[in-house]
Symmetry: C2
Subunit: 199 residues, 2 copies
């Protein structure tokens, strides 16, 4: 029913995560009806990002050039490494302005069901980085999910074996700021209780 180039665009848009057939069709019609500039700017932005953005050779975060902006920043403490699953996880952490160190992007979390084993993640690179450079602490900031927790435990074990002098820490689990006790789930509340701190 649609012209072949329109169909092709709908198909490509529908491959994006969270974009179903209907939304893809709506977006395609928007791109068709919008000024040429706007649509072509998007096409060009996609092309540019794929051509210019790669991975940092140290931390595997996104980088234009061989190293990312954080690894190139001399003011960031190289003895403190925060381990995250994905490049997108760096953003909320940076937004806190509370982390003076550098990052290590694993590229996912361990999930035997999905066939993601330790060698599919950049865990060996992390262990090497942590044992080589006089690193003081590794903060494991994988997600607070089953796979994220499993990955954190695996990393702690791996680091203890190879770099026993490095402290391995984990982000605190507990109540989100502004949360009502009444609506907290028992698991979160239990973790908040076990992790209680002196006032």
């Amino acid at each position: 029913m649609l012209a072949p180039p329109v169909n092709r665009l709908v198909t490509e848009l529908a491959r994006l995560p969270g974009i179903g057939q209907r939304t893809a069709q709506r977006l395609a019609f928007h791109l068709l009806s919008t000024a040429d500039d706007e649509a072509l700017d998007l096409a060009e932005a996609i092309r540019e990002v794929k051509e210019t953005v790669g991975r940092c050779e140290t931390c595997f975060n996104l980088a234009v050039g061989p190293r990312c902006r954080i690894c190139e920043d001399e003011r960031r403490d190289p003895a403190l490494i925060c381990v995250v699953e994905q490049p997108s996880d760096v953003i909320p952490l940076e937004r806190t302005h509370e982390f003076p160190g550098r990052y290590h992007v694993l590229g996912g979390a361990l999930s035997p069901i999905d066939g993601i084993d330790p060698e599919d993640l950049r865990i060996a690179e992390l262990v090497e980085r942590a044992s080589a450079n006089g690193v003081r602490e590794v903060v494991v900031a994988t997600n607070s999910t089953t796979t994220g927790e499993a990955t954190a435990l695996y990393i702690a074990d791996a680091l203890r074996g190879r770099a026993p002098e490095v402290a391995v820490t984990r982000l605190a689990s507990g109540l989100p700021v502004g949360a009502d006790l009444e609506y907290a789930d028992e698991v979160t509340l239990g973790k908040a209780l076990r992790g209680r701190r002196e006032l």
Copy 2:
């Protein structure tokens, strides 16, 4: 915080309708992490659609070439014209397989508040088309919204003045198939009642 090409992609994605800053960021990271092919295919599909798809010179529907596939189809009745607001409205109508005629795409609906006046829509072209070619009926299938209804009334007036022999009809308003009376709003139910038909 993000590399400039990534920022640019997020900005471009966030210009799409229904795509906020967060979703744009999620999509950008997906495009970054996906195989080069998939992302570049999307860029290419956007470019191709903008380069090859224009407007049908007869009905203003999307067209590859001067006329759309429906206007080029000799089996479609040229004496029966269905008027819609947007090219995307043609799809659900075609899906019914109940309409043997051709279309006329207005490019929107009258909305003085948004500064959309009759001359911003392809109403003059419709009147010309309807008065010239021995057209039998114009089915006004603008949306069942305030602006769509106002546009329908305006078109009916315009056609009555210039092409009095052409029948101007409107899609039926009423209960959607499968709807419960209990949950129908009064306006729809009122229209369904006024439009009742003999069984």
